[in-house]
Symmetry: C2
Subunit: 565 residues, 2 copies
């Protein structure tokens, strides 16, 4: 007898689940890649490249219902002719097909669902290079960055969500037993069932389509909700491949492939807004700017919205015993954001009068100059530059680079970066602008792309007050603090809790960015999983009723006196 | 040394938590009441009566900030002069005071918070009779019903929520340990903190202010959110007493009493709507009609809304081996709803051509006649009538009784019920109207009060299809099925899952109603608790960094060929 999908992946699921509960992390996909012999990696890279090439210039077939025509919305910022036509399907038909498939998927139960989710991830894992090339050529991310954001690390992130969703489902007690409170305390029994909310919508991220898309996709699937995946028009291919793999796995296991569908259309058709307000769509996942997150919360009333606001990622500099590391880390981060969804820091808050370091007192001006130099050094090194810098794929980023330079002294100007091997790519160095604390109007705006602000404050207390207020109001993926003073670290911890934001302390690397060493844990809170289902109970007599003496009735004799007070 | 609140209640909390995880139920407050000697019960009833009387005709003091004046909105449907003046406080000031108290409450941690929540419940327990009289005289519920809905059973329901919220908080791993994925796999450490969402608003229920109010109030408090309690103007006193007790317990423990405040105002001031859309209010709890639940979801964008829609509680009759029990249970339930928030069934779906019973085949006409007789018998028995029937406290209910009678043949007319001991109370017998399945427009409307419809359907399959559609669309607190056929029970189970509703099988008693023996478990899903907080992480180096050999880099060599495909 062939083992079911759950049996095949049981060990993996439970070990990841145990690690999460213990506050640890397991990364089986990443670890397997590291163990691979170099020639195996080379082989799978070659295969991935071949498969990727075979997708170009062709219709991408999914076999979905409601196909109305074909649509092509992507172009490679590296000048590669993608020319892939996706099916444009009627969004209402996709939602209806998902709805029809829902009852069977609910009935499959959490074991089967989690097992199939792992199976999907396992297959995606074998296509990591193909997915990375798809991300590279649609988002403009560097190849290295794309492999991190689309490969084993993204799969491990998804696997943690699968394990968490499975663990939460398993925690619902299957059987209920209790005694009715009165009428002789009859024994009752019942059962608990997990009821998925309904059709789930994943609004794709233009810059990190898989990294930011997998958590919601897999959380919904494992908790029993079909998912309509609506990629950003600039980056369809990575999610299209993912959807095709998911549909194959589901169909092979005898489930309806329409549990996972792709909704893509010309931008003017506003397919995201149409889907997000469809009465049958009950869950929406989105990572990106606060603007669209606000729109979702104001218009998608019928749905639970899981919006991860990129917001104002902020670094507070108070003091450091590794000045070079600090400068290097910030320089690297400032090069990394070539897209519109910002995972790198935007606001670097530094006391105007400077701060102490292992290399003596440094002023804000020193930091600005050193940061500019570090950026230039990094970009002068072809291999390192190639690793960090992506190609710009949106006019919005170009405009921001021009616009932001007008608000303050430019510490590092953004200019073209030539790479003879990438003649078609628009590569630019980051812009670094100095602002004053009173320029809040400028730095509380969410800027896309390679724009960072060095904001002078009165003191670290002032910096922390700004962090609390600006991040508390506009959100952020994380905050970061550099200090050698335990009191400052404690105050920063409190400020981060007040603002409700993740904090990293004295780490050069920054989370949220898939290229960071810290970015393993998917975004947090059991709510991310438990908000996708309800628990419904059924109850009945446990056994034929045998009368039992009733407890003494509760006395309320005083009451009669009172009525006519 | 005096034990902290957590230490004092640790045993209780963990035993209740274990019971929930195992699918069982513990009811320590109810059990203690049952064990009480009759004279102890009598004594506490007398004390409760005295304290209740001492509240009448006086200003109710709470010592809250922002007091603008005094307000009186209640009147007893039993003719008792309540004449209690509550402070009318500026809602914005209450929210601001709650916000200021929030950081201290967050810092208190889940142990302290859960301990104090149990302490509040323990004190409320000693005032069960006072609270029951407050519910009786504001909602019109019978004394017996009020004691169930306001006394030990309501406290046990709250205690389950406290234990659940505490267990969910405890499950957040305090310490994180992991290795960064690259750059030599540095050991990292971190911590997880529970970040409460913010100020919580409880919108009071006019008919079951404590039963429906406690779950949200205590879930928010234990997860660290301050609560503004905004009672329905018709029933302020039960929640006002609760708020005063909570404030006392909090202040005695050195916390700000403004963590729990009462917001009451004349209805025309729309204090609920103002509070629900206040930008600082981040959680709203509400149990009641779908109409206001929809309003909340459409307007309180800034908040997570926990709306429990009373909707269309529905009974499907297919067959029974206890016809008398069935008729008696329905007769009792139809007498129980004298208010506007409906916990009793509205729609009873029965095949037109009848159904089989232990007393032979019964037509829908038989059931209607027997149900009418059973109601008359019940109301002819003074003590039983007094137990079930409440006084009508809203014109809305009177209008419904007149209005509903026009839609179909009246199987039991609603008429006045005289009770010489309650000369001022408007007591009426229930209205029972026969409808056809095609009268969907009538029975999908949510009717208040003593209105039940006997809806004739083509078959049980038809009944289940109606259940699926109407309850799926309009919600319900529960559905109920009577059948001796396991296949029908299985089909009903699936229909209930499709509609996302709790189901009781072959039980005369109906849940949701505090007067029911089934109504122990608070409304379900971990989401009710986990949706009230986020988890925020901090991360740092675990130990001074010692370089470790980096794993082999992942190969992507194929890529270079591809760029110039």
């Amino acid at each position: 007898m062939r083992a079911g999908p759950y049996e095949r992946h049981r060990e993996l699921l439970s070990s990841v689940g145990r690690a999460i509960a213990a506050g640890e992390s397991r990364r089986p996909f990443t670890e397997a890649t590291c163990r691979d012999a170099a020639d195996a990696g080379m082989r799978s890279a070659r295969t991935g490249g071949k498969v990727f090439r075979s997708l170009l210039g062709r219709p991408f077939e999914l076999g979905q219902p409601g196909e109305l025509g074909r649509v092509r919305t992507e172009s490679s910022p590296y000048g590669l002719a993608l020319a892939i036509d996706y099916p444009r399907c009627d969004p209402a038909e996709l939602v209806a097909a998902a709805g029809s498939a829902a009852a069977g998927w609910r009935a499959a139960g959490p074991y089967e669902r989690a097992g199939l989710a792992v199976e999907i991830l396992r297959r995606l894992n074998t296509r990591s290079h193909e997915l990375a090339l798809a991300v590279h050529h649609t988002t403009g991310q560097s190849l290295q960055g794309a492999l991190r954001a689309a490969g084993p690390r993204a799969q491990d992130r998804a696997l943690e969500v699968v394990a968490q969703a499975f663990a939460e489902s398993e925690r619902v007690p299957a059987d209920l037993r209790w005694m009715s409170a009165e009428r002789g305390g009859q024994p009752l029994e019942g059962s608990c069932s997990l009821v998925p909310r309904g059709v789930s919508l994943l609004v794709g991220c233009p810059d990190f389509p898989l990294w930011n898309g997998y958590p919601g996709l897999f959380a919904s699937l494992v908790t029993g909700n079909p998912v309509v995946v609506a990629p950003h028009p600039r980056s369809v291919l990575p999610l299209a491949i993912t959807v095709r793999v998911a549909r194959q796995v589901l169909a092979e296991a005898g489930h309806s492939p329409d549990l996972v569908t792709l909704a893509v259309a010309e931008p003017e058709r506003q397919v995201h807004r149409r889907l997000a307000t469809d009465p049958s769509v009950r869950i929406v996942d989105y990572t990106g700017t606060a603007r669209f997150a606000d729109w979702l919360e104001q218009h998608a009333h019928q749905a639970t919205v899981f919006a991860n606001r990129t917001g104002l990622n902020t670094v507070v500099v108070d003091s450091t015993d590794d000045y070079r590391g600090l400068v290097r880390g910030l320089a690297r981060a400032s090069c990394r954001c070539s897209g519109t969804v910002r995972t790198t820091p935007q606001n670097i808050l530094v006391p105007e009068r400077g701060f102490s370091t292992d290399e003596g007192h440094k002023t804000l001006r020193d930091l600005g100059a050193d940061l500019g130099d570090a950026v230039d050094r990094l970009l002068a090194h072809p291999a390192r530059a190639a690793r960090e810098l992506g190609a710009i794929s949106a006019d919005e980023v170009r405009d921001a680079l021009t616009d932001a330079a007008r608000y303050g002294p430019v510490l590092h100007a953004s200019g073209p970066v030539d790479r003879p091997d990438l003649p078609y790519a628009d590569l630019r160095s980051p812009l670094l602008v100095r602002l004053r604390a009173c320029d809040e109007r400028v730095y509380t705006h969410e800027w896309p792309g390679l724009v960072s602000f060095l904001v002078g404050t009165d003191s670290t207390s002032h910096s922390l007050a700004l962090l609390r207020r600006t991040v508390g109001r506009h959100g952020a993926l994380y905050a970061s603090v550099h200090s050698t003073d335990p009191l400052v670290l404690a105050a920063a911890g409190t400020a981060a809790l007040d603002a409700g934001v993740h904090l990293v302390e004295n780490l050069d690397d920054l989370p949220a960015d898939p290229s960071s060493a810290l970015a393993e844990l998917p975004d947090s809170g059991a709510h991310f999983v438990t908000g996708r289902f309800r628990v419904v109970r059924s109850r009945r007599h446990a056994t034929p009723v045998t009368p039992v003496p009733a407890p003494a009735p509760v006395r309320l004799e005083i009451a009669a006196d009172l009525v006519d007070v």
